[in-house]
Amino acid sequence: MISDFLNPSYLAGFLTLVLIYGVFAIGLNVHWGYTGIFNFGVAGFFAVGAYTSAIITKQPASGAYMTYIGGLHLPYVFGLLGAGLACAVLAFIIGIPTLRLREDYLAIASIGVAETLRRVFINEMWLVNGTRGMIGIPQPLHGLVDTADYKYVYLAIAAAILLVVYVAVERGIRSPWGRVLRAIREDEITAAASGKNIFAFKMQAFVLGAFIMGIGGAMYASYVRAITPDTFVPMFGTFLIWVMLIVGGSGNNKGAILGALAVWLIWDRTGALVSNAQDVRIFYVRNLLIGVLVVAVLLLRPKGIWGEEKRVSVYAGKEPERRKPKEVEEAAEPLTSAVSTEEEADDSSRAT
């Protein structure tokens, strides 16, 4: 089961996907972890990001089985930024009616957007080639090394992008702006009473998180090189990313990346385990496992593996709680013993 990872090429592919999912998890963390925006339509942003970058970086459509708009044949960087911008615009439009309402309305609306977009991608052949999908999405710096070694180049690119996203979000969150977001998450009324424009701050966070998800979509498109509407089903496009954030620890970017690693490890290994099974039904055991995992974490360890730090301001200085993540890591195995200490109960009540 572990032996696959001894193969450096396999390991590089695995880690690239972890890094891409890390970007998504950080994007969702900006929404949910920091601001309390309940986005259940991650798959929609995932799809829009991936398709936008595909039509920006690919050459114009040609041949009988290829019809799509755009085909601008621009460099990868434009694909990344274009994908981010497209998602930012989408978030802005969804945000107008929903960000003023209770959190769960946004969840329902965003799940609706994601499903509607998927149907548009399936049925509108002229847009992005329908169910035949987009294939041959260009990869950056492809001519640099031998094709067999390209995996390592893309791994480095993915790592660099994740690093930029991580540093940018960390800076934002540790700034006064980030503290307002957390204040809104904890108690909107108090934040409003302090003179903060709740709607504006929520919109900024929603747009920023969506921009990051768009970048993630673009990274994914260029990594797998072929995308179809089936890539963006809710289980894979939305739920898996939520599980990563919840398992890793929402409100903590390091936790988000750790969650991406942990959950993708489970997903990848269970996939390898069932891939040569005779009965196709075995495949659904991994979905079951992921579902059980998220319910168990919510019940037994609501903070996730690496929960949120109590104070994030760079000016607040070091305080004892900063050491907590390490203790948690060392005591990783007694998951159940940490049930509902008062502090945790306190923390999970925040969204009401």
Binding site: T98, L101, D104, A109, W242, A345, S348
Partner: protein
């Protein structure tokens, strides 16, 4: 067009059964149960498991066995909903977990339930009975199969029963009071935990029944309920969360709009119609038609 409206009415009756349960749970427990569609799926498959032919009732494609299978589906899904509440949602409620955590847990439950259906029956489509049914011709070019009339009648009977339960019994009064204000209901001596159990039992069994009817109308597949979640939410929010007659009106609007839309656009966009209605109502009147607050 008349035909589309009538088919829309049949679909509305199925949506209504699901949406009434959803809106009751939403109103009383204040959280969006994303597993509600998958409860419908379970109902459909429980009926598939227990249905054993039994001849034909009149022109229907099934016999008394289906009535028993329906009751079994209602019973199992109702009990399952109560059980899930005891195991998952109640511990979260006790910890004062927010509505988002509860909704997230319900999405987890949705995945678990759907995976179990996949594991039990596989991804293929299933049918309760095979064979073609002749449609009865009515004026205005309306053609209806006996099975579809059965669906409409069953849904109507169930909706009337729920209405009587809510507005003519003490339990119904307690449920409405709890939905209105749980703290006040507690103070007034209402056993709110009992109300919660009753809500899950009723909502769950209605979802189970809705699943069976959906299976009769088309076919069974593990994603059937999840695809239905958008129309369900659209109907509940359109009518006003927590309001059963609102859900009924919402279901009519959503069900008929979805069918009539196929006159102009591809049927593949039916769920998108539900979503557009939802988006529009959130923009204009987020509390819904009969709702009081958001």
């Amino acid at each position: 067009m008349a035909q589309l409206i009538v088919i829309g009415l049949i679909m509305s009756s199925i949506i209504a059964l699901g949406a009434i349960g959803l809106t009751l749970i939403y109103g009383i427990l204040k959280f969006a149960n994303f597993a509600h569609g998958d409860l419908m799926t379970v109902g459909a498959y429980i009926a598939f498991l227990t249905f054993t032919g039994g001849g034909h009732i009149g022109p229907l494609s099934f016999g008394y066995g289906m009535i028993l299978a329906m009751l079994a589906a209602m019973l199992v899904v109702g009990a399952m909903s109560v059980l899930i509440d005891r195991l998952v949602y109640r511990p979260l409620r006790r910890r004062n977990a927010g509505l988002v955590i509860l909704a997230m847990a319900s999405l987890g439950m949705a995945i678990i339930v759907r995976s179990l259906v996949y594991l039990g029956w596989g991804p293929d489509q299933r049918f309760y009975s095979s064979g073609l049914q002749y449609a009865h011709q009515f004026p205005l070019g309306i053609a209806l199969k006996p099975d579809q009339m059965f669906i409409g009648a069953t849904a109507l009977v169930s909706v009337v029963s729920v209405y009587l339960l809510l507005y003519r019994t003490k339990l119904g009064k307690a449920m409405r009071a709890t939905a209105d204000n749980m703290e006040l209901a507690k103070v007034a001596g209402i056993d709110t935990e009992r109300v919660v159990i009753a809500t899950w039992a009723i909502g769950g069994s209605l979802a189970g029944l809705a699943g069976v009817l959906l299976g009769i109308q088309s076919h069974l597949m593990p994603e059937m309920g999840f695809i239905f979640i958008l129309p369900l939410f659209a109907a509940s929010i359109l009518g006003g969360v927590g309001s059963p007659h609102g859900a009924l009106v919402g279901a009519l609007v959503v069900g008929i709009s979805q069918e009539v839309s196929t006159e102009w656009i591809s049927p593949a966009y039916k769920p998108a119609i539900a979503f557009i209605l939802l988006f529009a109502i959130l923009l204009v009147r987020p509390r819904g038609i009969f709702g009081v607050k958001v």
